[in-house]
Every structure is written in structure tokens, then in C-alpha cells.
Amino acid sequence: MTASAPEGTFTNPAVAAEMLPDFRAVALVPVVQAYAPYAVVAAVLGWLAPLGAALLAWSAAAAGLLPAALGVLAPFVLGGLLLIAAINGVFAALDARRRAWALREHDLIYRSGVLWRRSVIVPFARIQHVETVSGPLERRFGLTRLKCYTAGGAGGDLTVAGLDRETARRVRQFLLERIRDGDDDRPAAVSSSHGAQRGDEG
């Protein structure tokens, strides 16, 4: 995009719709390979606790500590839970293959979802602040999430999952620089509390 307005002289000539840059024409970068195993593990891990409980109930019933009827039910429950966990894992793997992102000169694009798909485009000029987050499991896989906040409440933030640590750091730095550049144009229209948050990240 070359249409960025020079400082102070804002013009806004009419542009034919078909002349505009198309976000669909951008080649998206798939998320890192490590994201797929991480997503599968994370999806299955959530089912470990109920699986463990079912196993425990089964062995307790076998040992005569619980009514025998539970012992009869337990294998079915266990099987059902295993099936759900497996389906979740498969979906997570498929989802990981769909996830992709790209940076353009003026915005960030992120695509996700298997059945219900979503492409989100966030102009840099609208990002309020950026942060990187990684949980213990993500750190094991060397992954980091990048969160971009815009105005508009709960719908106003974009989480880019599946970046490696170094890429996430670089993208965050890049975005922060872009935001700062924007602030030079128009300083300090931010409340003190937001200012403090931004300061922490800068």
C-alpha cells in the first residue's frame, strides 16, 4: 500500500474499489510446525482428569470399594471419554494446519478455524497495545502467543497463536514501533492508566 497520507496534508481522492489492494491476494505464512503437536497435547490434556477419575472408579469397583454396578458402567464412560479426547485431538491437528498469518505494510492478517473459519485483519493504526503470552506447555514447545488489542470491547482483541518465541518477539517489536510512529503524529490521547500499560510494554 502506498497511499499513506503525508503528515498534515490529508487528501482523500476517490479510489475505485477494484484498484484497492486485496487482502486475499496475500500469501499467508502457516504457523510453526511445533504448533500442531502442542495443540493436540493441549486438546487431549484437558480430558486427562475425567479419564483418570473414570479409571480410578473402575479399579475401586473392581476392588469392591464401590458398588459393582459402577464397575459395569466405567468401561463405557472410559471409552466415551477416550473417543471425545481423540476427536478433539484430530480437530486440533486439522486446525493447526489451517492457521496462518501475514504482515502487510499497514495491517496484520490471521486466519483460523476448520469448520467455522475466520479471517481477521487488523490495521496497525488501530492497535492500542500488543503483548506476548506463553503458558508452561507452550514454552515446552517453544511457542508464544501474540495478543493485539483494539478498541471495541471483547471483540476487540486478536490472538495470534502458533508463533515461535523469536518471531513473536520480532513481530511485537515491529508493531510497537509502528504504534509509536503513529503516536509521534498525534501524541498522548491516552488516559494515565492506559499510558502506564503502554509504557510497560514499550
Binding site: A17, H106, W116, V122, P123, G152, G155, R186, S191
Partner: protein, 517 residues
Amino acid sequence: MGRSAVTRADPGAGAWQRLSPVALVFLIVRALQKFIRENLVVFLGAGASVAFVERLGMRELLLGASALFLIIVVTTAIYHRRFRFRVEEDAVRVRRGVLEHKELRIRFSRVQNVQLGEPVYFRPFGLVQFSLETPGAAEREVELPGIPRRLAEEIRDRIVGARAAVGADNEVADELAADEAGRMEQGADAVTPVLLHAPGVGRLFVHGLSSNQVWVVAGVVVYALDLVFRQTADSLAMTQLVAWLETQFSAGWSAVLPLLAGVLAALLAAGGAAALLRFHPYRLHDYGQRLVGSGGVLERREQTLRRDKLTGVVLQQSPVGRLLGCWVLAGLQTRSDGRGNEVSQRSFLVPGLRAADRLLVGRLYPGAVVPAAFEPIHIRYRSWWLGRGFLVVAGVLGALLVTLGREHAAILPLTVLLVLLPPLVWLRWRQWGWWLDRTVIWVRRGLFGQRLEAFELARVQQVQLRSSPYLRRHGLVTLVLVLPQGLVQLPFMAEERAAALANQALFAAETALRHRV
């Protein structure tokens, strides 16, 4: 409580001030209102109050209520005693809290609207309730109940004309903001106000008739009556009333219809009167950089909206409003909970508009003209909802018929719903529409009523394209535009159209001067 605290001669060093003693009354009234509103619903909802009153005697109940009342009064008194505020050069600072102490500092340049309220009992003392909102807050961020009117007006004027009082940095910011709004007035006070809208008593009454609140109130009244009825079912007066009603009903429709009509008329009249009380004599003034709406019989209210902080407008019509040709206009602003595009009692409302008054949109939001036609969404919207709707309703109906037989109470309404589904879906589809008028986009939706939302494409914060397997199969997507006030959705858009609109929105947002909220 001197004015000297905010004069320029003493910049940034205003003394900490307290609220007026009369403010305590206001705070207690509001605390009680809040308590009742929040807890009554819980009590009523659970039906607990019935069980409660039966188990406990009236005396215990009264004792409990007075204890509660005392607790509320004491906490409010502590809050009132500890409350301090200070007006600085470019900000207002507030210290408050009972258990948790909170100190806020709100920069004037961040404020997007200011409200002055004057309840009846404040009038003899020359006091007002001052409140302001910033983009970061979901609720009113600062409230100063019970400060002298002159002080409140001075703070208000400093906020809307912030440029004059603040340092160089903010001057740049505010000038840019003014550029964006296409306004370059020098200082807010120099502008003579232009009267934009002054609905008469009749229009305000009609506004009350068409507001949905009547039906909410009616629902609450019916519920409360039901509870009272259960409590007093065996008292003499109630037995007589029931006997009288029974004779009326046994007389057939000729007696019941006037009764129903009377109740309906009373409800509508109450709604109209409530709107009159709230708004009369309503005046909307244009001061260039700010818009001011004022009115109210018992509580005089004045809402001041900074024009450069206006992120969109809504024109809305309830089903009754559509019959009566009555519109309401609301100004939208940034909200951190993303629900800023819901029109509520708190919004900047312009009541009592006729169809012709819709031109006002252009005065409120320069460049906005109500479009004559809208581009519809894809016709698959109808088949999708019809298909899914039929499946669900017919499924439930079938299951009921098989398991419970024909006598079940839900059979009739479900059958009616099944028959009415096609026209309902058609109406809903027909209301959906959008129109791009150079830089301003309009989105219309509704069923019996309608709602038109307009905003500048450049205000878009984020563009999303969502699709389900069904939508993809037919080359459709749902376009979601994230705005400072919340989400705006356009479902069942042809993918090419949606992508073109998305590209346009991104172009507008990326080439506009940067305006953060």
C-alpha cells in the same frame, strides 16, 4: 467550596473538595435503588420472597429490612464523608471508596461526554450531579453528586473547550481531532448555539408510547400483581374483586374487551407520561464542537457530547414507533465493553423524531444522509433460516405429539410458530441491508421495528470474515466490522462483495489520520 479552586490563577493546585451534605440524600436514594434493582430480581426470580414471607412473620421481615436500610445508610455516609475531588489544570482527580480506596485522574482530553443532572431536591441548594465518561470505561467513570452548578459548568466548559486550557501536546491532538470531524471552530464558547431539534409535548408523548420500556414495565407490574394476588388470595377484598372479575368474564367478550382496552390505554398513557417527565422540554443544540441535549421535568438533565468523540449514530424505530411514525436518534461512542452500539436509557438520545426529522443525522454526523435504498443480503439467508427453523420447530412439535399427545399446552403456539415462520423470516431478511455512501456506511436490520446504524468506514478497528460450511458451499461469508462502539455484522454476504467492502474499510482506516479512541 470556592470557585478559586479552578481559576487559571491557581493552575493544577486546586484544593481537595468535598461533596455537599445534600449529596448524601442523593447517594442514599441511589444506593437503595441499586440494592432493590439488583436484589429484587434475585428474590422474585427465585420465587424466594413468597416462601420467605410465609415462613417469617411480618415483624421479623420489617426488622431485617430496617437493619439492611441502616447498613446501607451507614456505608453510604462513610463513602460520602471520604469522597474528595480536585480540579486540576487539565484533569479532574477523585478519591473515593469505603473498604478499597480508589484514586482516579481523568484527563479532560480523554472525556467523551459530560452529563449534568438536577434532581428536584438539589434545586433549592443550587447543586447538580456531574458525571463524565471516557472511552476506557463501561460505566460512568467519574460522578460528582452534589457540587455547585457553577463549578460543574466550569468543569464542563473546560472539558469541551479543553484546547484553551491545556498544554502544547494536547493542542496538536485536539486540532487533529477537530480536523477529522471537519470542524475548525476556535474555542467552544465563541460559537453561538444552533437549535437543531425541539419536539413538542405531543411528539414526546408519542415517543413514550413507542418506547419498548412500556412493555417491560407492564411485565414487572403483572409479575408483582401475581405475587400480591397469591399473598392476599383469601382476604375479603380480593375475594370480592375475583367475584367481580368472574361476573365480567362470564358476560363474554363484550365486557372483557373494554376492560383490556382500558388496561392497555392506561399502560400506554403511563409510558407517554414517563417520556414527558424524562424529556420535556427537550432541546438539542449544536455548539460546533459539542452537541448538547437537555430536558426533564423532575430531574433536569443536560448531556454534552464531544463531536470528535462521536463514532457513529443509530436511527431506531420500535414496532409501535413504526405504526406511529416515530424515530429515535442516538449518538454512539467508544465503550470498553463493546456494547456501545446498544441504544439504552443512558445513550445520547434524541427523542420524538418524525420521518422528515431524520435529516438531523446529517447535522449530528456530518456527511451522513439516510439512504433511499439499501443493498440486500443474499437470499440464502431465507432458505437457511427457514430450513433450520422448520427442522427445529417441527422436531419439537413431533416429539411432543408422540410423547405427550395432542393436549399439551405447547402444541398450539408451536403450530402457530410453524405457520408464521416463513413471513417472519422474510420480514427479517427484507430488513437486512447496507449502503455505502462515500465514506459513511449504513447497516439496517430489524423485524417489526427497524434500526439503522451509520458510521465512517475509517473508524473500523478490525475486519473479520467468518464462514460456516453452509456459507462456504454457497460462496457466502459473514462480514464483521469491529468499531470502537462494538461489532457490526453483515451476514450472508456474497464473498466478492464482502471482500471488496473489507478492502475499502481497511483502505479507509489505514489512510485516515490516526485517531485512537
